[in-house]
Structure formats: C-alpha cells, structure tokens
C-alpha cells in the first residue's frame, strides 16, 4: 500500500443512479429554529441567547427542553407585549432596557445573541441593527450578535445554521499565504470533538479549528487556504458565509456510522496528503471497534423497515447508515430540506430506489406511513405516542440531535438508539 488517501466517495455531481427527491407541501410538524438554543447554549459556554418573541416562543423552548432547569439558564425570552405593538412603548428602547437588565444580572456573559422569531420578523424589528447599537455600549466586554430562529424561515436545526453564520464575520482572518487549514463546522458533543481532535493529531493534521468553539473568545481563524468540512448536514447559510470569507468546501459524507466517519476523515486526509499507510494505521482500531459494536445490532436490525418523518435534516445520512451498515429497509425518508450539493455524497451512497420526500404534509404522510406497515418510525415528539398507540414502534428524532452520535466510538450507540424501541417491545409481555 502506498500513495496518499483519496476520497472514498465522489465529491459532487449526483450519480445517475442516485435516488430522486419528491417535494411535498402541507402542514409541517417540525420545530422552528429556536429549538437549537437548547444545545447551542450548552456548547458555547459563555454565550447567552435572548429570544425576542412571544410567549409562544418562550413556551416552545421550555417545552422542547423538557424544562431542564439549570441554576439559571443561559437563555431567556424578551416577550413582546401589546404596549410594544401599539407603539406605546418603543420596541427598540424596550429591547435596550431588557438587555441592560440582563447583562447587569449576568456579568459572566461574553457573547449575547439576540434571536429573532416570527413576531419580531413580522413587526420588522431589526435585530441586526439593535445588535450593532447595543454592541457600541457593551463591547469589548460583551459582543452582541443576532440571528433568526423564526418558524417562518427556519426549521429546527436551521437555527444552528443561522447562529453559526452570525459568528463567521467575527472569525479572525488568516493571510492568503497561510498554510492550508481545516475547519470543522457544526456543533458536536465535547466528547466527540475531543475524539476527532485526537484522530486528526494522529493523522498529523494539526491545523484544525472547530466552529462553534466552546468559548466565544476562541473563534477559529479563517482565510482563503481554509477548507471547511461539515460535521452537520444542516449548515447551508453558514457554508455560504464561510465561502464569502474565502474558505472552500471539502465535500464528504457525514461522520455517522463507521463508513461515514471513515469517509469524512478520508476527505481531510486527502486534503493534507496523509500517506495511505498512516491513514489505515490510525483508522484501524477505531473502525474495528465500531464494526464490532455494530455487529450484534446489525443482526437485530437487519431487514427491519424504517420510515422517517422530516425533522433534523440528519435523515439522509442516518438513512444511509441504517441501510448500508445495519441492512435496514428504507420505506420513506422524509426530510425538511435537501441541500443538493452538501448531500451529494450521501445521495450517491443511498440505494437508487430510496423514496425521499422533502417538505411535509403531515396527514398524508401519516397515511403513507400506516399503509407501509413500518417496523420502526423516526418522528417528532408530537407523533410518537399516537403512533405507538396504534401499535407502531417509534424512535424520537429529537434524541438524535441531543445525543453524541457522530464518530467511530458512537456508531454503536447510534445503532442502539434504533434498536432500543424494538428490544423493549420484545421484552414487554403486557
């Protein structure tokens, strides 16, 4: 074996045999982008998220989080009331007052996000201007940025996309002559991030940054020699912002499952011309562990049919993992949105006859789901119990966003998430 690592999967251009995508419109049963605050505030530990919205927005976040009450959470809502709407109070003055109140209370905060919502957008409250204005009073102590998680513009995980995009202009610049650097984009659990760092080190790739950083003061640098590798599949706007800063996309399948993770590292290794031998040596042990962990789960899940309702945009990579590494049968893969070029490597790996639905008409989709007699359904919290009550096994999709599932060491855990509902059903005799 010699030479350097090459891409395992074709970079762009959907293969002729790639599955086609059907688009559907109707009632969507998906959270809005505000939901991302739940994991983002755990990730960036000196940031505060202030939603400017309605009581509905506040209620959404607390319901989706299951009211995980931390001492005092690093998120809150500035609830717009009728005084702001009728013009009795100037909404901008009110916002300044709330921000002052908040920052006085939380001197530990270094980065404040003003997060837009449907109501703030419909009344055209310009949060980017508000952020500029407030920055003037609070920088350098606190940086104030804005993004929108509104349900009229974003679904669920797109909130993270908008949040990360808002950080891109603040990333330090690398000069044009800087050596090639790698930027990993998309929030990963710290434990996963640490594993990835160790693997990059072992491959001899040391020029790696992560966005988002754990601390807002440690934004990675970016320049024309930066190649970004997506760790999450829902980062369209952020990718665009990175390209405006000169970075270039390094296409790859996503690091879910042993195969996906291997492809992902191979993309990085190819960029840095890592010798094939070294690559194989580094990957050998973790791949073997992942395969061993997957083996018993493959026995259990092989042949089981699965139906995805749209939720996190993780659906295509998950479907690829489940079908290729666990031999599950894909009935329908619903996803809120398909980014054709970011998804090209995934589409290329999916069975050519995969039924992919983009968008949603929840009632029609439920009809199709029931008719297809699925062995397992991946869906949101609103649909899970009703389907279970009809005798259909379900896996809550939200858990896939909150649990560390990326990388070799988590491949078994990821498969286990799908196996658990079935195991449980087998166990119960009531």
């Amino acid at each position: 074996m010699s030479g350097v690592v090459e891409h395992l999967v074709p970079a762009t251009a959907v293969l002729p045999s790639a599955p086609s995508i059907r688009t559907e419109r109707g009632q969507r049963e998906v959270f809005c982008g505000l939901t991302g605050i739940i994991w983002l505030h755990r990730k960036i530990q000196d940031a505060f998220f202030l939603v400017v919205g309605s009581r509905t927005c506040a209620h959404l976040i607390q319901s989706a989080a299951g009211v995980m009450i931390f001492a005092e959470p690093r998120f809150a809502t500035a609830i717009i009331d009728d005084r702001d709407l009728s013009g009795i109070a100037d909404a901008n003055d009110e916002l300044d007052r709330v921000v002052n109140q908040l920052l006085a209370r939380r001197p530990d905060i270094r980065l404040l996000f003003l997060v837009g919502s449907c109501p703030s957008e419909v009344i055209k409250l310009d949060l980017s201007r508000a952020a500029l204005r407030l920055s003037r009073s609070f920088e350098p102590q606190v940086r104030i940025r804005s993004w929108s998680g509104s349900g009229i513009e974003t679904t669920f995980t797109q909130g993270e996309d908008a949040c990360l995009a808002s950080l891109v202009p603040d990333m330090p610049s690398l000069p044009a002559e800087a050596p090639t650097s790698l930027l990993i984009v998309g929030s990963l659990a710290d434990v996963v991030e640490d594993q990835f760092r160790r693997l990059f080190d072992a491959l001899g790739i040391d020029n790696v940054g992560f966005l988002p950083p754990r601390n807002s003061q440690e934004l990675p640098a970016i320049g024309p020699q930066t190649r970004y590798l997506l760790a999450q599949p829902f980062l369209a706007d952020c990718a665009r912002a990175l390209e405006q800063r000169g970075a270039q996309h390094l296409p790859s399948a996503f690091p879910l499952g042993a195969e996906g993770t291997m492809a992902w590292f191979a993309a990085a290794a190819a960029l840095f011309a890592v010798p094939q031998e070294r690559f194989d040596a580094v990957m050998a042990a973790p791949t073997a562990r992942a395969r061993a962990a997957l083996q018993p789960l493959r026995e259990q899940l092989s042949g089981v049919s699965i139906f995805f309702f749209p939720d996190s945009q993780l659906e295509l990579p998950l479907a690829r993992f489940l079908s290729r590494e666990l031999d599950m049968r894909l009935l329908e893969v619903g996803t809120p949105y398909v980014h054709r070029s970011h998804m090209a490597p995934e589409l290329a790996l999916l069975p050519a006859d995969t039924v992919i639905t983009e968008g949603q008409h929840v009632d029609n989709q439920l009809d199709r789901c029931r008719a297809s007699k699925p062995g397992l359904v991946v869906c949101g919290l609103g649909l899970a119990n009703p389907l279970e009550a009809e005798g259909i096994a379900t896996k809550w999709s939200i858990e896939l966003v909150f649990t560390p599932i990326q990388g070799f060491e988590q491949a078994g855990d990821l498969a286990e998430l799908f196996a658990r509902p079935l195991t449980r059903r087998n166990r119960l005799v009531v």
Binding site: G26, Q27, R28, E29, V30, F31, C32, G33, L34, T35, I38, W39, V52, S54, R55, T56, A58, H59, L60, Q62, S63, A64, A65, G66, V67, M68, I69, F70, A71, E72, R74, T77, A78, I79, I80, D81, D82, D84, A91, Q101, R106, D108, C118, P119, E121, V122, S150, G151, I152, E153, A189, D363, G380, L381, G382, N385, P386, W396, E399, P404
Partner: protein
C-alpha cells in the same frame, strides 16, 4: 417587553388546545407557523395522550406572507373538515398570525361549512393560557347553546318533586392537573347525594353534550380558571346557579357538600358529610405532632393555592409563611387569603422573583408547581406539587385526585412524604452529634441519593427528552447568593449554632441576626444567641 426565563402559562391558544383536546368531535384550525406545532407534545408526551390533539396548523412560511396566507388558511379548513369530519370547528390565530390579520373567523364563515364554526379571538400579546381556555370554553358553550336558550327574563321552573336534581360539572380540560381523577371523585360524591350528572364538560364532551347543558338545574364549577365565564353565562342565560366552593381538602369538601345540597334541594346523609378521609385521623395521630408549625410557602394557580393554604393551616397544622399566584386574573382571591394568614401576597409570573421569595422566606416545605419544584430542589427544601404547570410524573398511572375525600388522602401523603417522618426528626434532634445523623442525612424513606441538595450543585432535570448536555456534564452556573450583610458571627457563637438541629438552625440563625440588627449588635456571641432565643420565645 418582559424578560422571561420560564413561563408558568403558555400562550392563550394553548389554552384553546386544552379545551379542544378535551372535547370529542371538535377540531381546531390554528393559523400558525410550523414551530407552534410543538404544543402537540404537551399532550402526547407530558399527558401521554394516545392520539394527536385535534388541531390543524396552517404552518405558513415567510414566502407565503407576500402571497396569500388567507387562501392557505381556507384550504387548511377545507382539508381538516374533510379529513376529520368534526361536528364543530374552532378557528383562530396564534401570536404570529394575529399580526398578519387574516381574520380566520371571517374567512371560515364565508366557506359555508355545514357545522358550527366558532371563531376565537385570543389576544396573544395580552393574555395567557388559562384565560384562553376559559374564553374558548365560553365561546363554544355560547355558540352551541344560545339557539336553545329561553327568552331573556324567563324564570326557571322549579324542579318537579319526582325528578332527581341534575347538574353539570364544568372546567376539566386536557393537560389539567389531576382533572381526570377529580371528575371521577366529584361525580361519585354528587351521585351519593342523589344528584344526577347531566354533562361533564369540556372533558370528553361532544357538541351534542354541550347543547344539553341548559337541561341541568345548576352547575358545579370545578376549576374557576377555565369554567367561570361559561358558568356565568349559563347562569344569566339559563338561570342555572353555580357553585363557588372548590372541594379540595376535608373542610372545603364539607363546605362543597353543603353548598351543592342547598342548590339541589336535597338532604345530606350525615355519613356523606362526615366522609371517610384518612387525613382527619392521620393528622391527629401522634406522629403528625412533628408537622406542627412547619413553615410552608404556597404558590400556584389561585384555586389550588388558596385551597392548599387552607389545608396546610387548618388540616395539617402548618404555618403559611407565604402565598402567591401567577394568575393576575385571580389576584383578589390570593390577596384575601394572604390577609387571612397575615402574609404578603405574591402576584407574579416571574420565576426569578418567586425563587428570591422562597430563598428569603426559607420555608420548610414548598407547595407549588413544577417551577417551584426546581426552585426547592436547588435550595434544598422539600417540595410537593399542588398546581399546574406540571410535568409527566404528575399524570400518575394510579387514581390520584386532589378533590374530595380521596383527594385529601392523596394530599396528606404527597405533602408529608418529602418531610422527615416524625420520629425520625425527633431522633435526629437527640443524636445530632452522632455521625450517622448529620444534617446531610435525607429522610430514610427517600434513599441516600436524595440527600439534601448541595446548594452549589446544578440540578439538571430532563423531562420529556432525556437530554444529554453536549458537554457531557452540566456546566456550573452562577448561583443566586443571599446578600451577606449585617452582623458577623463570633467563632464560639457559630460553633454553638451548629449544635442546634439543622432543621431549626436556619430559623435560629435568622432570628438571631434580626435580633442583633435590632439591638445594633455587630458581633454575635453565644450570649447574643441565647438572648435572641429568649426574646423570640416570649
């Protein structure tokens, strides 16, 4: 604009959903963006309902805003009617749709559906969940019953002697705190009194049941928060009187029986009035001596808070040191109750303010909502839940009403459970220097893992979702620190203080400091400690 960390109530359309979901054969078309569909999980996850709420959301997007959101609304109504074939339709807007002013009521009316269409105007930027539920129930009752109403001014005919008295039981909704079981308990009690149940609503009632509301002699209002406006309208329109007493606790249940019997014109069998709640004896048994004077803080919706305070004070012998509610609509009830117990009322829906109040009062037991459960957990104070908002474990599998005799039993058990058992507390006092009886010791029946929360520990409590924080561990968050001002403690006085059993130590410390303050003593000595003790025990 109001800075809000956690909210006690959702927006008013969630109240409307609680009514719609409780009903049968009614569908609700809500003009709302996709994120608002989160509300479904309140019912399917927290209440573990086995069916989706009967709600269609239009889920309009930004790109629809320029175009025709009104047309989208109409096609959603059409589809919902065809698919679900409801007997009545509720239509309305969530906060965002309220701003785009499509007038869902007007649009739906033009569609000529062959069923009653009830428009809901729920001002999202002024009102909240309970108000929304009450308004929805009222609008529904009015729309369905008005055509059957007698001409205004008609005097209700007295019930003929050969017919049993009949009542409606109003207010129970989906996602209500123990509503399912309260209805069973109270309908059973009413039947023991020889009173027939005409209709229970909204829980499990269909439009045809609602139309029969006028046939009852009177209305039992179980939850004024949701049923008052409808009951008042029925009183005006059909001349049906309504009950005022909410039967939570032994005393209130007895009052309720008397009130109902008077409205129904029936004799009360003495055994029924006596009831068979074990609370009465349990509270008099010697073990309960140790409950005497326990300082409790009460917070919740007004109905449950007022009832809890009465039980705490009259039936368990606690001392109410604070009472409050998040529902401004019922501020008066809470002010009256606060006056009865000689405490300041707290009318507020700011979680942080409630937390500060609890920290200040240092009660020995908190009776509150799931928010107070978190506050209490953090402050290391025992807590029991008495009111919505509640979480999944407050929808227990077993029969666990709050109302009536069995409700009193349930309340006795749930409130006393988090406390030290009487004898145990006594032993702790006697052997306070024994290594196994240290202050961190938890009540033995709660197991070692529930040792009094270390106040610097962060409590993460995933509920619906088993959240694994991405960092793999809970990050530490700054704590609310009580202001450290006032007199200082001399070392020997502090040592002496530590000899006082921990469960009264907080009080001793506060009293001594207050005494020192009043006497302008800067350094507290052992002397000061005992002077203060003597002062306060006079």
């Amino acid at each position: 604009m109001q800075l809000t960390v956690w909210t006690y109530e959702g927006p008013p359309h969630v109240g409307a959903m609680r009514v719609a979901t409780a009903l049968r054969d009614v569908h609700y078309v809500l003009h709302a963006p996709q994120g608002d569909t989160y509300a479904d999980l309140l019912f399917t996850m927290i209440e573990r309902r086995s069916a989706r709420p009967p709600v269609t959301y239009t889920t309009f997007q930004a790109r629809d805003l320029g175009g025709d959101t009104a047309e989208l609304f109409k096609s959603s109504v059409r589809d919902a009617y065809e698919r679900f074939k409801p007997q009545a339709l509720l239509v309305g807007a969530s906060c965002t749709a309220e701003l785009i002013q499509d007038d869902p009521g007007g649009l739906a009316r033009t569609m000529g559906l062959p069923i009653p269409v009830i428009p809901l105007e729920l001002p999202s930027y002024q009102r909240k969940e309970n108000w929304g539920a009450a308004e929805t129930f009222y609008q529904l009752v009015r729309a369905l019953c008005l055509p059957l109403a007698p001409p205004p001014g008609t005097v209700r005919e007295p019930r003929s002697a050969d017919r049993r008295p009949r009542c409606n039981v109003l207010g129970a909704t989906a996602l209500g705190f123990r509503h399912r079981d309260d209805v069973r308990e109270i309908t059973g009690l009413l039947e023991q009194l020889g009173i027939e149940i005409n209709v229970v609503a909204p829980l499990n009632a269909g439009p045809s049941d609602i139309r029969r509301l006028g046939e009852a002699d009177f209305n039992v209002v179980l939850y004024p928060e949701t049923a008052s406006p409808a009951a008042q309208w029925l009183q005006r329109t059909f001349g049906q009187p309504m009950t005022r007493t909410v039967p939570i606790g032994v005393g209130a249940t007895r009052d309720f029986i008397r009130e109902v019997a008077a409205l129904a014109g029936v004799e009360i069998p003495p055994a029924v009035l006596q009831g068979d709640s074990r609370l009465v004896w349990y509270s008099r048994s010697v073990d309960s001596t140790y409950l005497t004077g326990k300082r409790v803080f009460v917070f919740g919706d007004a109905t449950h808070a007022v009832a809890a305070a009465r039980i705490a004070s009259e039936e368990l012998g606690f001392k109410v040191v604070g009472i409050g509610t998040y529902s401004r609509e019922f501020a008066r009830e809470i002010r009256d109750a606060a006056a009865r117990y000689g405490v300041e009322p707290l009318i507020c829906d700011d979680y942080l303010q409630v937390e500060a109040k609890v920290a200040e009062l240092q009660p020995e037991l908190v009776l509150g909502t799931q928010m107070e459960r978190h506050i209490a957990k953090r402050l290391g104070i025992p807590c029991a839940v008495i009111s919505a908002p509640v979480h999944v474990q407050d929808f227990p599998a077993r029969y666990a009403p709050q109302m009536g005799w069995e409700g009193a039993n349930v309340i006795f058990d749930t409130w006393v459970h988090p406390l030290m058992m009487g004898l145990e507390e006594h032993l702790l006092g006697m052997f306070r220097n024994d290594f196994e009886f240290h202050e961190g010791a938890a009540p033995s029946h709660l197991g070692s893992t529930t040792a009094r929360a270390n106040p610097t520990e962060v409590v993460t409590a995933p509920a619906v979702v088993e959240l694994q924080s991405q960092s793999g561990e809970a990050a530490s968050e700054p704590q609310v620190q009580p202001a450290a001002s006032g007199p200082t403690w001399a070392a020997d006085a502090e040592k002496e203080l530590r000899k006082i059993p921990f469960f009264v130590r907080g009080k001793a410390k506060r009293n001594t400091e207050r005494y020192a303050n009043d006497q302008s003593v800067a350094v507290i000595t052992v002397e000061t400690l005992y002077e203060a003790k003597a002062h306060y025990s006079r």
